[in-house]
């Protein structure tokens, strides 16, 4: 066998998992099964220090500062004491480590709770209690009602008939409805004592993360039986409505589907963060230039003057000066160290803490909370008071990115609408019924008429996958009217309810029968097969046998476009279909969701042939789905039409207002829906996405050429003209495929001019493609919002993903960056929290860059006059504490509390969002102008003190001379105060905490200065210097004038800009302060935002 053949063989070989021996721990040993103990923690108590440090030093800034620390440890070349860079670095490391450690400890607690939960495991003689972490693959385990599954388990039997059980999977996929699972027929007949004696083996596929697919084989003796996802109980799910379940453990710990699904979402970075990164690199380059200048001039100085200065080089009676090479190295290293603080070390940590705090404030926001209407029911069946729920932030990295949103892509069902379906109307056999929900159809039947109504209702009550809540009490259905249905699809619940109100009550479904109560009579249809709904098939069918007539019947329902193709030839050409199509389009115009119901009778021999092939297909391990789907497709044909249903899905409160506000905020809103064109347009109008004064263009081509034509026509009539009016666009899914393939650019030309876009008849896959197209070609910030599993790809594709906690589970919310409760909260999230986060973070960053540049560039200017030796002007301690104590609080508080415009003004003036949308608050130009300001301030600081001491350093009337230490302490005082006063110019919103923070920082500086200057043993140089300063009139006069010289331009420019070139935000600030604040309380709330 050649190598190539071998490789091919290996590829073809089905990957398989070692075969699990049921209930035999000895033989399972050594097969490489994972233990069930889980650990989601990053660290343990022994490796925490080491591993955390390793993680932290993967950050470039930390390595950079570590390098600086090492430089400062070499006394002969370091201009700084090691403490100056070591203490801030340790501070940063410790803060981060505490944060990480705390998060990890919480994970540890959660792990240890689930590891130590006790389960009943067969020990050879009896079921005994075993901790979850000691469960092993192959163990026979008994799960009791309400117990969560400790690992992935193949179930053998339950206390219920046919070995069915109910499971809640909300921990896994967020779906709160109960799902029914069913044990294999071969094992569900075995009693408990037989099961524990079972000599069997289980063959499973390799562990994978697909929650909804499983293939395996159960081998008892020579016989082997197929296993599917219907027998696999997943870790994280919970047993419900079932007293007990016995099964065998097949996947443990890290092999469980839950663990394999726990992946970290892709990390997203905001524009601000990226620009910050590049700005820091820019500053670093600037620093390198300074270092090189300092090194060059320092070396020249040394060669010309320095080495001849005997007072610097005497050594035991002779002079011993450095050579030129050593001088270059020393200068380079010491400049590198002394200018290290131009990059603010603490900024990265500050930002992390800030973003988490901002997220907390969002989560606390009562205007983004929601209290469900009606009374939900808890596990025990008792009604509970609805709780107010709050939004949650999953990724606070993007807080400021929210302010840059230009495109919003929204799902419709469940996002814009309630996703609470109400059966509205129906068309049966060509006749329209508008009041079916109130028993109209029942009355119709009571009158002795039929016209297909009976079959229609029969279909409604039987053809679905809904489950009756607490169905184990079916034996005596005393109160049929109180039956509640649960289903993954809210449409099905609406349909079942409609049938129920017309006395066709679905009672229960076992593995063999469907029980319904037809107008008071129990009917048990023999269940032959269920062909489930999927978003690809867009239909579902149920194959049953009527026990009385022995007829085989196939009931089916599905999307009208799919079902119409599957009608019999006779129906396709019949008048009934025409009539029904008319009704469907009428319903669509009202924005209703339609479904077509069909039925067909299958001859016995056809069925038997089908059944045997279908059974074979269902036991296949490979290509099972494909084969089954092919067979389903084969039988689901030639239907008779029964009628159609129309279901209403109400818009959520405040959706039109929210969309209107977003459009006015210069955000382009796209709705992406699977609905028909008419339905979609209608919904577009009702949620104000389409407006009567904005012309609507439609692209609904059936070929790529037609698509091209339509696009060209739109461009020539609407885009090329002089008149730049707004337009809205409607496009269907078919055209989108052409657009995505061939006409992307032309389409975007239109789309970029479109005020709003409705995409209808879109498949879930296309959702992400649309977002990707717009994202990559416009380079604008895109936000996707959706509620269902089919929106996940779109949510992850967009720059910002927003999920809605919906009736369709929380998958979307879990994949998102921000999870909301209602669509209308989006306006507040984007235009208020997003705006404020932008204003806050950008100011915090700019200020941090500014303060370090202004304070530490002085060192460079000073070095010109100290023989280019990078002697520090400031006291080491003041350098150390600068970033961690007396200038760290204002930027932090800015980033938590700052507001440029009052909320009420933002709510009233959506247009003001434009102000932040182009990120002008954090452009490179803006950063540069801040740094230029810092450059100016540093010049003022240094040359102020230089001229004060130039030629005359007499400081008081007693002729005393100050010296270097006094010079440094003067400079650090007015530099620190100026920097803090600079913050006061920038801050627009002064609440009590900000006041304390800013004025407190100044006080802290003075206290530090006084304390430092009293410790003679540790800091002899500073001893009494500050006290001496305080006794000088010159000191106060100097500090005051320096603050004025530095800040006068900043202040004046601010004032001139406001007076001469006012921006929207200035006007709104004035409007608020002058008009609103005095007359009303600032708590004015606008209805559109609540």
């Amino acid at each position: 066998m050649t190598l190539k053949q071998r490789i091919l063989r290996r590829k073809k070989a089905r990957p398989s998992y070692p075969i699990v021996d049921v209930n035999n721990r000895l033989t399972n040993k050594g097969k490489g099964f994972k233990v069930n103990e889980i650990s989601t923690t990053k660290y343990n108590r022994y490796n925490f220090l080491f591993k955390n440090l390793y993680e932290q030093f993967r950050r470039v800034t930390n390595i950079y500062f570590l390098a600086i620390c090492i430089i400062t440890l070499i006394p002969s070349i370091s201009p700084l004491s090691p403490a100056t860079s070591l203490i801030p670095l340790i501070f940063v490391l410790v803060v981060t480590a505490i944060k990480e450690g705390f998060e990890d400890f919480r994970r540890y607690q959660a792990d240890s709770e689930s590891n130590n939960r006790e389960y009943l495991v067969w020990d050879g003689t009896a079921f005994s209690k075993v901790k979850s972490k000691d469960i092993q693959v192959g163990d026979i385990i008994k799960i009791l009602n309400h117990q969560p599954f400790p690992s992935d388990i193949i179930m053998f039997n339950t206390n219920l008939d046919d070995g069915i059980c109910y499971v809640e999977t909300s921990q896994l996929d967020g779906e709160t409805n109960l799902k029914m699972f069913k044990a294999n027929q071969e094992t569900n007949t075995l009693a408990e004592d037989q099961l524990v004696q079972l000599k069997a083996q289980v063959e499973c596929e390799l562990p994978n993360n697909n929650l909804y697919k499983f293939k395996g084989k159960l081998m008892i003796g020579e016989q082997s039986y197929s296993l599917s996802e219907k027998q696999l109980m997943l870790r994280g799910a919970k047993l419900r409505n079932t007293d007990w379940l016995i099964g065998v453990v097949v996947y443990c710990g890290k092999d469980t589907k839950l663990s394999l699904n726990q992946k970290n979402p892709p990390s997203k970075f905001s524009t601000v963060e990226k620009r910050l990164g590049r700005s820091v690199i820019g500053i670093f380059c600037f620093k390198l230039v300074l270092v090189l200048i300092g090194t060059t001039l320092g070396t020249i100085f040394h060669e010309r003057t320095g080495k001849d200065s005997w007072y610097l080089w005497r050594h035991d009676g002779y002079l011993e000066s450095d050579g030129i090479g050593l001088t270059i190295v020393k200068r380079f290293v010491s400049y590198f160290a002394i200018l290290s603080f131009l990059i603010p070390m603490s900024l990265m940590v500050t930002l992390e803490v800030v973003k988490v705090s901002q997220a907390k404030f969002m989560e606390w926001d009562k205007f983004m909370s929601y209290k469900e209407k009606g009374t939900p029911i808890d596990e025990t069946g008792a009604t509970v008071q609805p709780v107010k729920k709050y939004m949650s932030v999953k990724n606070s990295n993007l807080n400021d990115e929210l302010a840059l949103v230009k495109y919003i892509f929204s799902d419709k069902t469940g996002t814009l609408t309630e996703n609470k379906m109400v059966f509205s109307k129906c068309s049966i056999n060509g006749a329209m019924f508008n009041n079916a929900i109130n028993g109209e159809l029942y009355e119709y039947l009571q009158k002795g008429q039929d016209d297909g109504v009976y079959q229609f209702l029969f279909n409604l009550s039987i053809c679905h996958a809904a489950v009756v809540e607490n169905s184990n009490t079916t034996e005596d259905q005393l109160n049929i009217a109180n039956i509640k249905y649960q289903s993954q699809s809210p449409d099905e619940v609406a349909l079942c309810d409609a049938a129920k109100f017309n006395q066709f009550i679905f009672v229960n479904r076992s593995t063999t029968h469907v029980y319904i109560n037809v107008m008071g009579q129990q009917v048990a249809m023999e269940l032959l097969a269920i062909m489930e709904f999927s978003s690809d098939r867009r239909r579902m069918s149920i194959l049953v046998k009527d026990p009385q007539s022995q007829k085989i019947l196939l009931y089916s329902k599905g999307a009208d476009s799919v079902m119409m193709e599957r009608l019999s030839q006779q129906e396709k050409s019949g008048a009934l279909l025409q009539k029904t199509i008319e009704h469907i389009s009428e319903y669509s115009k009202e924005g209703l969701r339609t479904l077509l119901l069909c039925r067909k009778e299958i001859p016995l021999q056809v069925y038997e042939d089908f059944a045997s092939r279908y059974h074979n297909a269902s036991t296949l391990i490979e290509h099972r789905e494909e084969e089954m789907e092919r067979l389903q497709d084969e039988i689901e044909r030639d239907f008779d039409l029964l009628g159609c249903t129309a279901i209403e899905d109400k818009l959520q409160d405040g959706v039109p207002e929210a969309i209107d506000y977003l459009l006015k905020s210069n955000i382009k809103v796209w709705i992406i829906t699977g609905d028909k064109q008419e339905t979609a347009i209608n919904i577009g109008y009702s949620c104000k996405l389409l407006q009567s004064h904005v012309p609507v263009v439609i692209i609904n081509a059936t070929s790529t050429e037609q698509c091209q034509e339509q696009i060209n026509e739109i461009i020539s009539t609407h885009i090329q003209g002089q008149d730049h009016h707004k337009i809205s666009m409607v496009i269907n899914g078919e055209s989108l495929t052409f657009v995505l393939k061939d006409h992307g650019d032309a389409f975007l030309r239109i789309a970029s001019r479109c005020h709003s876009v409705v995409c209808c008849r879109v498949t879930p896959l296309q959702k992400a493609l649309i977002v990707k197209l717009v994202k990559t070609s416009t380079k604008q910030v895109c936000l996707s919002i959706g509620d269902g599993a089919n929106d996940v790809s779109m949510i992850q594709e967009a720059h910002i993903g927003v999920g809605i906690f919906g009736n369709e589970g929380t998958q979307a919310a879990r994949a998102s960056d921000y999870a909301l409760l209602r669509f209308r909260h989006l306006t507040r999230l984007v235009t208020i929290h997003g705006r404020y986060s932008m204003v806050r973070n950008s100011l915090c960053i700019k200020f941090s860059l500014y303060k370090n540049m202004a304070f530490f560039l002085v060192q460079f200017w000073f070095s010109i006059f100290s023989g280019w030796t990078s002697q520090t002007l400031y006291l080491d301690w003041l350098i150390t504490l600068f970033n961690i104590l007396y200038t760290s609080v204002p930027p932090f508080f800015i980033a938590v509390f700052e507001k440029d415009i009052n909320e009420t003004q933002i709510e009233k003036n959506p247009g003001v969002f434009k102000d932040v949308q182009d990120c002008h608050l954090f452009k490179y130009r803006t950063i540069f102008s801040w740094l230029t300001g810092a450059f100016y301030h540093s010049l003022v600081f240094f040359f102020g003190i230089y001229f004060l001491l130039y030629n005359d350093d007499v400081v008081n009337q007693w002729g005393k001379i100050g010296g270097l230490d006094m010079m440094g302490s003067f400079t650090s005082t007015f530099a620190a105060l100026t920097i803090l006063f600079k913050a006061t110019i920038e801050i627009k919103n002064w609440n009590v905490i900000v006041h304390i923070g800013v004025w407190g920082s100044m006080l802290v500086y003075l206290i530090i200065a006084l304390v430092l200057n009293a410790i003679i043993t540790q800091i002899p140089l500073m001893y009494m210097v500050f006290n001496f300063n305080m006794s000088l009139l010159k000191f106060y006069l100097m500090v005051i004038i320096m603050i004025f010289i530095a800040l006068l331009p900043d202040f004046s420019i601010k004032f001139y800009r406001r007076m001469l070139y006012p921006k929207e935000k200035h006007i709104l600030q004035e409007y608020y302060v002058m008009k609103v604040k005095d007359n009303k309380s600032p708590d004015v709330e606008l209805t559109s935002m609540k």
Binding site: G911, V912, D953
Partner: protein, 308 residues
């Protein structure tokens, strides 16, 4: 698993959590800004003027002597200063050095403050900062330690001055030339039997203390003596020149100066106040005119671009 469910616990509906703390929202409105500009102008200009006058009142006489042939190192010479304006007592006698880098990194750190405070340092490694002058022959033996160690102490300025007017010697007062805190706490003589090689005989010598307070800039003055009598006319200062500065192009001066409440002769602070005051005043007036001629109505929605 982190919380996957929406937050259902009810956060306290406090002003803090809702970010609705009462806040002061200052904006720069013309009225207060114009008034502050003008007030600053009115206050700063006179303050500056007073300081300029004070600086002008200072009489300062300066004479370079290192370039005089007779004042070369090792000789005694006379430097004559003509005081044409009367200098009122107290008059301060300074020496001034130029191009002398007392703020050189190597120099600044080269001291041991424990030694200077009279503490006996026995640990050689504690003298690290004094490099390159720690002990004789870099010996680790405490009896070879320099007392005090370091470049600063070893390079103390040692020219001496005697001042004469006519034939009379003008009495020079040495007490009070150093900072009080330095004299009281920072400098103490070690015990007489302290081991080491004495570089400076008396650590409490005020000349030494003054020298040890290193200057911030390469051109600096240091207080030498205080003269408690008025001076006018010609004065002669007899210089004993010991201190070499030629090798690094240094310059030596004698300075006589009076002081005022603000210190010595330096008009910088005064001019700074006057200039800032003027700028503020002019801005205030300019804006006042602009505000009167074509005021911009505050908070006028017509400036809102989006509402057009």
């Amino acid at each position: 698993m982190s919380s996957k469910e929406p937050h259902s616990k009810r956060p306290a509906n406090t002003a803090f959590k809702q970010q609705r703390l009462k806040a002061w929202e200052p904006i720069l409105t013309p009225g207060p800004v114009i008034i502050s500009f003008i007030i600053i102008g009115i206050v700063f200009i006179p303050i500056g003027a007073v300081m300029i006058t004070a600086s002008k009142d200072v009489v300062e006489k300066i004479a370079r002597y290192d370039n005089l042939d007779e004042c070369s190192v090792g000789s005694v010479c006379n430097v004559t200063i003509n005081v044409d304006q009367e200098m009122k007592a107290p008059v301060y006698l300074y020496y001034r050095l130029e191009n002398f880098y007392q703020n050189h990194r190597r120099y600044v750190k080269s001291r041991n403050d424990d030694q200077l405070r009279g503490v006996i340092v026995k640990d050689y490694s504690a003298l690290q900062d004094c490099d390159p002058l720690k002990s004789e022959g870099d010996s680790q033996d405490p009896s070879k330690f320099y007392l005090p160690c370091g470049l600063i102490a070893s390079s103390m300025f040692n020219d001496t001055f005697i001042m004469r007017q006519g034939n009379k010697t003008v009495p020079l007062q040495k007490e009070g030339i150093a900072w009080t805190s330095d004299k009281e706490k920072k400098f103490k003589n070690p015990p007489a039997d302290a081991p080491g090689i004495r570089i400076i005989p008396d650590f409490e010598d005020e000349d030494f203390i003054v020298w040890m307070r290193t200057a911030g800039l390469p051109d600096f003055k240091k207080l030498y003596r205080i003269i408690n009598q008025d001076i006018s006319g010609e004065v002669t200062i007899q210089v004993t020149s010991n201190y070499p500065v030629d090798s690094f192009d240094g310059k030596k001066y004698i300075v006589l100066s009076t002081t005022t409440w603000i210190g010595g002769k330096n008009p910088f602070l005064g001019y700074a106040y006057v200039i800032v005051g003027c700028i503020c005043f002019v801005q205030g007036i300019a804006f006042f005119i602009k505000h009167k001629v074509s005021p911009r109505k505050l908070g006028d929605p017509k400036y809102l671009e989006f509402s057009k």
